[in-house]
């Protein structure tokens, strides 16, 4: 993971905690932002990790348990600190280039972050088209999609001025787009891309481009059904949550898009997005190192996953795309009510869930820090 602590440009704590990449480092993964006024304005936004955070707990919640907590997508949700959920894709404001550089470095270093089982190729095209069309509508000042170019209805032209992408491709012709449609898309948006499909009455995770898995592995999980994937999660199967979640996704109508939030305290007290099992050696000792240095707890990251479920028209495959948001406990201090609520929830959490989520060992310190004045 490349980061430059000396590239701090503004005084906000948030920026100081955020790794920045140089133009050369971005160019090495093909990111060359255009110099248009729209791009400059986008990049000049202040870094803010708290305002856009999709706070995962209802106001009055003091005890967390797993549930099928889905709600309709594309409905903006105001929070104490700002707003989230207006669009399908949250580019991440000024962090967009940072996230995309880390993502592309991960893809370049490890081709196994993209896994596609046989027969899922059309679903990958389905997914690409859905997202590019959506982005061109939600971010017209910096993203553009031309359809039916040169008289060929299946020919497309995609431009993303923020990353400097200028790519023509032909729908269905795998080699017409670098890395294939699934990984190409993964290299354009912050979200991890997952596709599930129904076989013999069950839903299987049959394709994915996943760089930011929170301590799991796409290579290991791909091809599993929902029950197998969630086998290690305490209480989920026993309480019928997996069965209800599977039913929900199997019945997801084509004319609706839903979303769901999940949360964790990340195993690494850094802003590393890539804490997948594949890269365990590069982050597995972070907590011990920071604890030895005495600044682990303020840097513990509340890691929130915003998942989107879209039924894709050509294949009926359903997306389980995951956008990862992070804010450190130190950053959360800006919102005292959130600190108080998170402290209550972490304190109350049953041991099996805290152990599964991986923070049982330091949850007491987290509660104390959040409650300290």
């Amino acid at each position: 993971m490349v980061s430059r602590a000396d590239a701090v440009t503004d005084t906000a704590i948030a920026a100081a905690r955020s790794p920045r990449y140089t133009d050369e480092e971005m160019a090495a993964v093909g990111i060359r932002p255009l110099r248009t006024p729209e791009v400059e304005a986008f990049r000049a936004q202040p870094v803010d990790h708290v305002g856009p955070l999709p706070w995962p707990f209802p106001e009055d919640l003091g005890a967390f348990r797993y549930s099928v907590n889905v709600d309709p997508a594309r409905v903006p949700r105001p929070t104490r600190a700002g707003e989230w959920g207006r669009h399908l894709v949250d580019l991440g404001g000024a962090d967009y280039l940072t996230i995309m550089t880390e993502k592309r470095i991960t893809h370049d270093a490890d081709p196994h972050r993209t896994k596609i089982r046989r027969g899922m190729e059309p679903a990958c095209w389905d997914l690409l088209l859905y997202y590019l069309r959506d982005l061109a509508i939600t971010h017209p000042e910096v993203m553009h999609l031309d359809e039916g170019v040169d008289g060929n209805p299946d020919a497309f032209h995609w431009r993303n001025d923020l990353l400097g992408t200028d790519q023509r491709f032909v729908l269905g012709e795998w080699d017409s787009i670098p890395h294939g449609p699934l990984e190409f898309l993964s290299r354009e948006v912050p979200d991890d891309m997952l596709l599930v499909t129904e076989r013999d009455g069950r839903l299987y995770f049959d394709a994915g481009a996943v760089c930011f898995a929170a301590a799991w592995s796409v290579s290991f999980d791909v091809g599993m059904d929902m029950y197998e994937i969630h086998g290690p999660v305490p209480r989920m199967r026993r309480e019928g949550i997996v069965a209800r979640a599977e039913q929900f996704l199997r019945r997801l109508p084509a004319d609706r898009v839903y979303r769901r939030l999940n949360w964790n305290l990340a195993a690494s007290p850094t802003r590393k997005y890539d804490i997948a099992l594949e890269s365990l050696p590069s982050w597995g000792r972070d907590m011990a190192l920071r604890q030895a240095a005495g600044d682990a707890i303020p840097n513990v990251q509340l890691r929130i996953e915003l998942e989107h479920f879209v039924r894709l028209p050509t294949t009926g495959a359903v997306t389980f795309n995951i956008r990862t948001f992070m804010a450190s406990l130190e950053e959360l201090k800006a919102v005292p009510e959130w600190c108080a609520q998170l402290a209550d929830i972490v304190e109350e959490l049953p041991e099996d869930i805290a152990a599964y989520k991986g923070f049982l060992d330091f949850s007491g310190d987290v509660v104390a820090y959040l409650r300290a004045g």
Binding site: P72, A73, R74, V75, R117, R118, G119, M120, E121, P122, A123, W125, D126, L129, Y130, R133, D134, I137, T138, E147, P153, D154, L171, G172, T197, R199, D200, G201, D206, R251, P253, A254, D255, R256, V257, P313, T314, T315, G316, A317
Partner: protein, 340 residues
């Protein structure tokens, strides 16, 4: 399929999809072409009125077309990927219904209302090729599957059973059959069809899925031959035009959960009819247990719901938390709570 939906009102008008190529609600299309294929079958091709892309669809999907006073579902015949037009081929039933209206009234340039596409007969994505079986007008969804497989460069074996002179799209199939990995087996008598099915089921590579659409008796034969050839159910798929005749059933009572209202359902009258009469706007379409549109969430004691539809899986029927109220009922003098 539609379940009662507590958020429907709150989100009326909410745009879940921003791009027009994902629209599946009711909208207007223009008739671009009307082309007779046989004495009784006519092909209709629709294009968007505003030049926008049409919604893509899974092979085997259908489009709901408002034809005069009728709303009928017709299979789309193309591969479904990035379509520029929608094609349906309609058999004139001669009973004064929607198919007659389309034959007698629809002309190039006319505007029609459509809804969908909707998928009830999709291919399994990880299949190693397909055995496709069509009888008569059942060719329409089968042709869609065949075209999608051809586009993807996959393998397919097609069995087409028809009466000589009455076969729609035979030329299209013969052209597809010239591709590598494509076989076409035509049968023009019942005996021939049985023989060809036996041969074809006995000679498919491992991992093949079978799909059939056609008249009821042909589908029964298809299922028998598949089972006799040792095919597991999960690999044998079909789409029916019509459900078998239903007996009138027994009287039972429905209780509406929200209001507590008790509704008697006499023998010979469907639960759907009674719910509509009492002002519950239950969506519905085929009214014969095929399309799944009128599925409603219910609560009932074990064994009370008599599922008579062809849409729910065995697992879903066993779960007992929903039913197709057009054909399924309660056992004699039972009570079913409708979650509405």
């Amino acid at each position: 399929m539609t379940l009662t939906d507590p958020i429907a009102g709150e989100l009326a008008g909410h745009r879940f999809h921003l791009h027009p190529a994902y629209e599946t609600g009711r909208r207007t299309v223009r008739v671009h072409e009307v082309r007779p294929l046989t004495d009784a079958i006519t092909h209709f091709r629709f294009v968007p009125v505003d030049g926008q892309p049409l919604t893509a669809y899974q092979p085997g999907s259908h489009l709901i077309v408002t034809a005069g006073e009728h709303r009928n579902a017709y299979s789309l015949v193309d591969d479904g990927m990035n379509p520029r037009s929608y094609g349906i081929s309609v058999l004139r039933r001669g009973e004064g219904g929607g198919s007659d209206w389309l034959h007698d009234r629809a002309a190039a340039g006319d505007l029609l209302e459509v809804e969908g596409p909707r998928s009830m007969f999709p291919p399994v994505l990880d299949q190693h090729g397909a055995l496709l079986v069509a009888g008569g007008i059942g060719i329409t969804p089968v042709l869609s599957h065949a075209r999608a497989l051809a586009r993807a460069g996959r393998r397919a074996d097609v069995v087409y059973s028809y009466r000589p002179g009455a076969a729609a799209h035979l030329d299209d199939l013969r052209e597809l059959a010239e591709r590598a990995g494509f076989g076409l087996h035509e049968a023009t008598t019942v005996d021939d069809t049985v023989r060809v099915l036996r041969e074809r089921f006995a000679d498919q590579p491992l991992g093949t899925h079978a799909y059939a659409c056609g008249p009821g008796p042909m589908l029964e034969t298809y299922l028998e031959v598949a089972a006799g050839s040792g095919w597991p159910d999960a690999r044998v798929h079909l789409e029916r035009f019509t459900a078998p005749e239903q007996d009138p059933g027994s009287p039972f009572t429905a209780v509406v959960a929200s209001s507590g209202e008790r509704i008697d359902v006499p023998a010979g009258v469907s639960l759907l009819t009674r719910l509509l009469e009492h002002g519950l706007p239950v969506p519905n379409l085929c009214r014969q247990g095929v399309c799944g549109e009128c599925r409603i969430p219910v609560r009932a004691a074990d064994g009370v719901v008599v599922h008579r539809d062809l849409a729910l899986s065995d697992e879903e029927k066993t779960a007992g938390d929903s039913m197709l109220c057009c054909v399924s009922r309660g056992v004699d003098r039972s009570e079913i709570e409708v979650q509405w």
